[in-house]
Symmetry: C2
């Protein structure tokens, strides 16, 4: 038995070692989205100055420029100006059977296989679309090692879980210039997203040039719109990166911008002017006048020629019906047509619009509200309401997309988006055929609170985890791994020109007016913007013309520092307050925060943009001090006195209230320290 035991123990140990080594090698592969299958090999392929690429099979223009972009990005990531040796054998061989179609289709084969050994890499794919995805995987595999840049030996077989993986840009609330869209398209390609949904009109601005109806932008855009040439440029740019472009013109609600130039389209008399704040407004198209459809007929014909993709989004969300309710002609129309309510009227409108869209050989997409049994099953429903809504649609035969849970403007932590599973809840109970109708999803960047300066930080890196949810197998759910990989991919994204990390530094300098912003950074590192719609959209909030230059506009949606600190506190308390290494680190953080307000305060006073942060900065210092006192009780193995606890918890309550739109994210873990106060493990009630 002794022998057996030793044998078992050796087995256990070697299993542990294998598991550890595998987990290390997994940790080393900072891939996001995680591929369908990853088999680690041994050794690594060195990335040297003579690195070169060869392409066989298809040599379409798209793959050609993809290889060029790949080499540029590899050069930025590594700093190596590549000089392939004449006659040298290529380090990466690419083979794709087919090139990109002139217009990319939903459901194309996006699979690829990538094999890396210490002597070279091979990337094969049925389509150049798949090959492009493989190139992005290769870029993410590149890592710095003690001997140089290298890609670890690995065999990857990959394909997406869902065929529709999109990001919606609202460009109405705040206009987003072409160059900003382009760098975000680069980011989307890097995480294998394949749909750009372009929300081009809303109450605050009409952003796409119409030559048939020039007053749409002429009067409805305040001069901020895309010309048709610019739109074609974006479509070509996206197509080069394997990304389809779906335009959305939101009707019949969210349509104030149409009515500034064409008030006759509305359900109540004008004049109209652009809205300058967020919210749901009354302005709604009149579905009862034939002139409305004549207008839309011409407009949709023009736009469907401009946008080559097979899908055309008509919005359809959030019609409050007030203009319909108060218009006697519309009421009479509804009565004479036997319509029971506004939903029926909107369904009538949608049917009419759907026929126009279909006559122009496009498939209509709309938000949840368009779902109505009178519409053909070909349409697609985009759900902001949730999996329940999606499942209902699928059961009725409609295809759907999930956007619920993927609203980037709600300032959720990455883990919360990551946990949103399209096939969960009601969707999990669908039949296989019904499940197939769930095509994927889209993250949404609603633009109430973004400018070209800070939009990247609202999208990235969190959008990468939504991309993973839509690409990777459903089983890929480990949150710790996700954060590690997201952090690595975030760095790569900055090499593409995205400014999601660097913009904050510039904005902090602006607020401070000085070069030394170290204390301000300590503060900015532990706060997050308020969540959901906490920022409000009533008359008391600044309008969309106002600068977005406060701390709430500069900080990252999620605080890495707070998350890591919470992890340390967790480890420490779980160790029964015995883990010295954790305690040392916790103390260092707490002392930094305790001492920060004294350094920061003079700066805050001098700046109109920072004064509002003074109370929170003081509270951070108080929290630091309280946390240190809590640790002292642990060190002395004394339970903290009740009066002290009560006092500190009052402080915590205060510190948890948002101030200047900010949340102090270290309040909760410090609360844990205080509540445990000197008593490492709970000992009954």
């Amino acid at each position: 038995m002794r022998t057996f035991l030793i044998g078992s123990m050796l087995f256990v140990l070697s299993s542990l070692a294998a598991a550890q080594s595998q987990s290390q090698s997994q940790a080393q592969l900072n891939l996001m989205p995680m591929p369908a299958s990853v088999q680690p090999g041994s050794g690594q392929l060195a990335i040297t100055q003579s690195f070169s690429v060869s392409v066989t099979g298809v040599r379409g223009a798209s793959l050609g420029s993809a290889v060029e972009r790949f080499q540029d990005q590899l050069s930025r990531q590594t700093g190596i100006p590549f000089r392939p040796k004449a006659g040298g054998s290529p380090a990466l061989e690419i083979h794709a059977d087919r090139g990109l179609d002139a217009v990319q289709k939903l459901g194309e084969d996006e699979s690829y296989e990538l094999t890396v050994t210490d002597s070279g890499a091979k990337l094969t794919a049925p389509t150049s679309l798949g090959a492009m995805h493989g190139l992005e995987t290769f870029l993410q595999l590149v890592q710095i090692t003690p001997t140089g840049f290298a890609v670890p030996a690995v065999t990857i077989k990959d394909q997406p879980r869902f065929p529709w993986r999109g990001l919606m840009f609202d460009v109405s609330r705040h206009f987003i210039p072409i160059d900003v869209l382009k760098r975000n398209l680069d980011g989307m390609a890097a995480v294998k997203m394949n749909v750009m949904h372009w929300h081009l009109s809303d109450d605050q601005g009409f952003r796409a040039e119409s030559r048939v109806f020039p007053k749409l932008t002429g009067m409805g855009s305040a001069g901020q719109y895309y010309t048709q040439d610019e739109i074609r440029d974006i479509i070509a740019y996206a197509h080069d990166r394997g990304i389809r472009v779906i335009p959305e013109f939101d009707i019949p609600g969210h349509s104030t911008a149409w009515f500034v130039g064409y008030p006759e389209l509305a359900s109540a008399p004008g004049p109209y002017k652009l809205e300058r704040r967020g919210g749901v407004f009354d302005a709604t198209m009149d579905p009862t006048r034939e002139e409305t459809y004549k207008f839309l007929e011409k407009f949709i014909a023009e736009m469907t020629r401009l946008f080559p993709d097979a899908y055309f989004h008509i919005g359809g969300d959030e019609v409050n019906g007030k203009q319909w309710d108060s218009n006697p002609k519309i009421q009479a129309f509804m009565h004479s047509h036997g319509m029971k309510n506004n939903q029926d009227l909107q369904a009538y409108f949608n049917q009419r619009v759907q026929k126009i869209v279909a006559r122009n050989h496009k498939i209509m997409v709309g938000w949840d509200e368009v779902l109505h049994p009178d519409l053909p099953k070909t349409i697609i429903v985009q759900s902001w309401r949730g999996q329940e809504s999606l499942a209902t649609a699928a059961k009725q035969g409609y295809s759907g997309l999930l956007s619920y849970g993927y609203y980037l403007d709600l300032m959720w932590p990455a883990a919360r988006h990551y946990a949103i599973e399209p096939m969960s809840d009601a969707a999990a109970t669908l039949s296989p055929e019904e499940k197939n109708r769930i095509l994927g999803g889209e993250s949404c960047q609603w633009a109430e609170w973004v400018t070209p300066e800070n939009i990247d930080s609202h999208i990235w890196p969190r959008n990468a985890v939504i991309a993973e949810r839509l690409w990777s197998p459903q089983s890929v759910t480990d949150v710790t791994s996700m954060y590690t990989r997201m952090s690595a991919v975030s760095l790569d994204l900055e090499w593409l020109g995205l400014t999601h990390r660097s913009a904050r530094m510039h904005m902090l300098h602006r607020m401070a007016g000085t070069a030394d912003i170290s204390a301000l950074r300590v503060f900015a590192d532990v706060v997050e913007p308020v969540k959901d719609y906490g920022r409000g959209d009533d008359e008391s909030t600044p309008d969309f013309d106002a600068p977005l230059t406060h701390m709430i506009d500069a900080v990252y949606p999620e605080s890495d520092t707070a998350r890591q600190f919470a992890g340390l506190v967790q480890t420490y308390l779980q160790s029964g307050a015995k883990d010295q290494a954790s305690e040392t680190q916790i103390r260092a953080w707490l002392a930094l925060w305790r001492d920060n307000d004294a350094k920061l305060h003079p700066l805050l006073d001098q700046s109109f943009l920072l004064q509002e942060d003074a109370p929170l900065s003081q509270e951070l210092s108080a929290l630091g001090a309280a946390g240190l006192q809590a640790l002292d009780f642990f060190d002395k193995s004394q339970p903290a006195p009740g009066a002290w606890k009560t006092q500190q918890l009052a402080l915590i309550e205060q510190a948890k209230k948002p101030a200047a739109g900010l949340l102090l994210m270290v309040a909760a873990p410090i609360q844990q320290l205080i509540e445990a106060g000197g008593q490492p493990a709970k000992t009954g009630p």
Copy 2:
């Protein structure tokens, strides 16, 4: 006497107060270059969303685009999207009498007057060139205040001290792309420099397209060159910003790149290939063959048409004469023409070239070595040798430019460049007429060790202090004020798109391969690259195709942290080790450094780019510990034991040696602490 004393003391105190208040108001005006005359007013002009500009007088295109650029930059600096009120009165009125000439001339009136009150600002100038300078001053005046962005009330009358204030770009050693040149032209305009000297050919590459001699770039550029269209684009871009563009084609030395395609021009038989390292090479044009001049005749005719400026730079530096010495035909030529040495032969060459340049209606510029009595007094000598050389030329009737002391590639601290006064030493003794011949100067960005990624940090912000030296009155020399203002202007420059501060962060991330680079930043903050030509240019150094991605390539040429720390140590020791506030800060720094290696070490081991920094990181920790021990002796008022001192000073000697091309800049102030070791004031021998 008592009354008198009190009176005196009051006077002294009020003088102090006045001086302090003036110094405060001066400190608030973060202007660089400092204007000729600044009269502070009272109050401030608020910069709000309705801020607008009006232009009267000239409405030339150049001023028009200057106003647009001004508004863009103001918007970036403040984050305000300006929305001028219809019918509102402009906050800034600009009047210029004359527009820019199609080709800008040396010595144009660049003066302007800017008056700011709490109700508005007026900018007047004889030329739109002056008005552009005034706009840059206005941008530098914008500051954040407790009530908003504002410009303090002030009256500024300004004009440059020297008419020629240039920056030379070497684009041969490392090619610098168009977009990088453009953002640096923006930076030059911001600090009122008015000459871009474009060093377009050297042993390592020929960078300007010649249609007459296509092999110059076809064989001599490795594909890295500017087309004539791109050159015209840069000239127009510079002209828009009041910057003249002077091309330099360096002959007869530094000319290997010519000979790759045209070996017959050389003084020794080919074939030639591009040099890939720095240094002075043998390849030299043959000044004895008429074919050489026929070639140059055609080439210069083409280039002088391409570059509209009146000046044309022929280089002329560092001819080592080896090819001439060893070519019998050249020796025979020299003998038959009665030439005593190679200097005579080069003078003959220069005369011939000068005549070609003059026939093309241009004035020749050359480096020191071209100075020879046989050349006409119209030429301009650019001195890399110093004020002595400049004075000699001026006495002989030649105009001159100073570049000695302004070589940005030598990695000097800003203060050292700042101290280089063109009119000092021999130049100070010149007659007024001779002094007038000193036209100004140029900073030089030799490109042995720069890439598009790090070039901005080699130029900025230090170039701003050279710009000040050439623009501001000779009396403007206060180094403390200079550093304060340079730091502020440096932030503004990043809003223009320069990456002199932000690039380091990306490069540190690349080296580390991780998101958390805090310990690496602590290290990078206290090191500087070796100075002068310490990096070497022999076969053991990497060639110019190699990546520049090590710590030496990423760090700033001057460590702000080290300079500030040295100041703290100075204050502390001068206080007789009594200044507790300084000691607290010094201790915080020393503890940070002492503890840094433990955090940094694991990272260094993982990266081939960082391993070389391990010894220096250890030394930094040792220095931190040693400094803290020295402070302990002060605190105990004990003289440090001799053995301890000896040991620590040995450590200092070691730490002062460059490692991985880096200097540990805090070694010297820590040495001061150790040497003073426990004995605050020296008490005799």
